[in-house]
């Protein structure tokens, strides 16, 4: 039995520009996130040297900064936890942004079906972040 042709014209790999952009995005996202998390967790320890780890495990201070308004107010007032929250969000946003870039390049590469698949994944991720998570809080 011979293999059936997969497509008349296979789209081929994405252009190098897409791979370069994705790799750059991953590096920058990780770096920004880790710098924010490390710097502000050190500042937290300096600011609260006697804080007890047990009570911090039980009480999540990030709960006060999970809406856009409270996060912006926290950042403006220089809250350490608000900046740590941004570090966590940047880390989560990095692979999400990679999906968005993939969608753009598949569309540009005239692969409508794959672009649609990618947009569906993006929509699912945003649904979890913006609707499902707050719903079950």
């Amino acid at each position: 039995m011979t293999a059936r042709p997969i497509r008349d014209r296979h789209p081929g790999p994405l252009p190098d520009e897409a791979n370069r952009l994705m790799a750059l995005l991953l590096r920058v996202g990780l770096m920004v996130s880790l710098v924010l998390l490390i710097v502000f967790s050190i500042l937290f320890v300096v600011d609260h040297p006697a804080a007890d780890s047990g009570s911090l495990v039980q009480q999540n201070p990030m709960l006060s900064y999970l809406s856009l308004g409270s996060l912006a107010a926290g950042l403006a007032s220089g809250s350490i936890i608000a900046y740590l929250t941004v570090g966590v969000f940047v880390l989560i946003a990095t692979p999400v942004a990679r999906v968005a870039i993939g969608s753009y390049f598949f569309e540009r590469h005239r692969e409508r079906s794959v672009a649609l698949v990618t947009l569906t994944v993006l929509a699912l991720l945003l649904f979890g972040l913006l609707y499902l998570g707050p719903l079950i809080r």
Partner: protein, 283 residues
């Protein structure tokens, strides 16, 4: 314990977790979650912190794999349609099971998953994916095929994805397991990519890593917004696991692969037993 000392302990422990995970080929999550539980974290909070460490490590290695042209983003994206809802189901299940006070049941289930992961990794053989491919309809429609240059074989290796329907089923389960237990579930993903789609091992591993990042983002975003990710602990855990995984990836080529894998699989097995005992109230 004072917060500074605790974070330093967490940093060192997660370096070891990242090292063990990377050398065993299992990812850091299978070690981070049990270790956090043994340090006194509630189950879902341990899962939340672990999801952040998985994001950090998969992002680190993802950047390298993109340059190697080993990640098949088309296949990864398609299967994310199954893993992302799976991750939502897993995260919601973990939260509700913990809220009704059945946390011990989750700990016992985690122990069982650790034992399965250890045994599955120990028994894993590289499948022979050469030979004629039989892509299904969806695979043909989306053009799920590719090629990469294999440095060891010194030739181009071509592949075509075959059974996408079976892969969807396994991937949904992988998503559930990932967010329910705070692990990458790479064993399940590689199983679907190699076993159902018949992708070459290197492509399966790189694509699985890409998918782990997106699945972890789904689980983590839900857990963050539900209030189960504590950023104070996420920082040293993410950094520690990243450092450990990086060191592991640097020293792995110099070690005898099989014996190292057996040793570290043994570590995960012992952790599984430890967690099981804790779940049954015996430790």
């Amino acid at each position: 314990m004072e917060i500074g000392v605790f974070l330093a302990v967490l940093f060192v422990v997660t370096i070891l977790a990242g090292l063990v995970g990377s050398l065993a080929g299992l990812g850091g999550g299978v070690v981070v979650v049990p270790v956090l539980i043994l340090l006194g974290f509630p189950f879902v909070d341990a899962v939340g912190v672990s999801m952040i460490t998985i994001l950090a490590t998969s992002t680190t290695s993802g950047a390298a794999y993109v340059h190697d042209h080993l990640t098949d983003i088309r296949i990864g994206m398609l299967l994310e349609i199954a893993t992302v809802p799976g991750a939502f189901v897993g995260a919601v299940a973990a939260i509700y099971v913990a809220r009704i006070g059945w946390e011990d049941a989750l700990v016992i289930a985690l122990g069982i998953v650790l034992l399965i992961s250890a045994v599955g990794t120990a028994l894993r053989n590289d499948l022979d994916t050469s030979g004629e491919a039989h892509p299904d309809r969806l695979s043909r429609r989306l053009g799920l095929e590719g090629a990469y240059y294999d440095v060891r074989l010194q030739r181009e290796v071509r592949y075509r994805a075959e059974d996408t329907t079976s892969a969807f089923g396994v991937m949904f389960s992988a998503g559930v397991v990932s967010a329910l237990f705070g692990i990458g579930a790479g064993v399940f993903k590689v199983f679907a990519l190699e076993g159902a789609l018949r992708l070459p091992m290197k492509v399966a591993t790189a694509t699985s890593n890409f998918m782990i990042g997106v699945t972890a983002a789904a689980g983590a975003s839900l857990l963050v917004m539900a209030g189960y990710v504590n950023p104070i602990f996420a920082a040293p855990a993410a950094l520690g696991t990243t450092v450990g995984s990086y060191v592991g990836s640097r020293i792995l080529p110099r070690l005898h692969n099989r014996s190292v894998r057996w040793f570290f699989v043994g570590v995960v097995f012992v952790l599984g037993i430890e967690v099981l005992l804790r779940g049954f109230g015996l430790a």
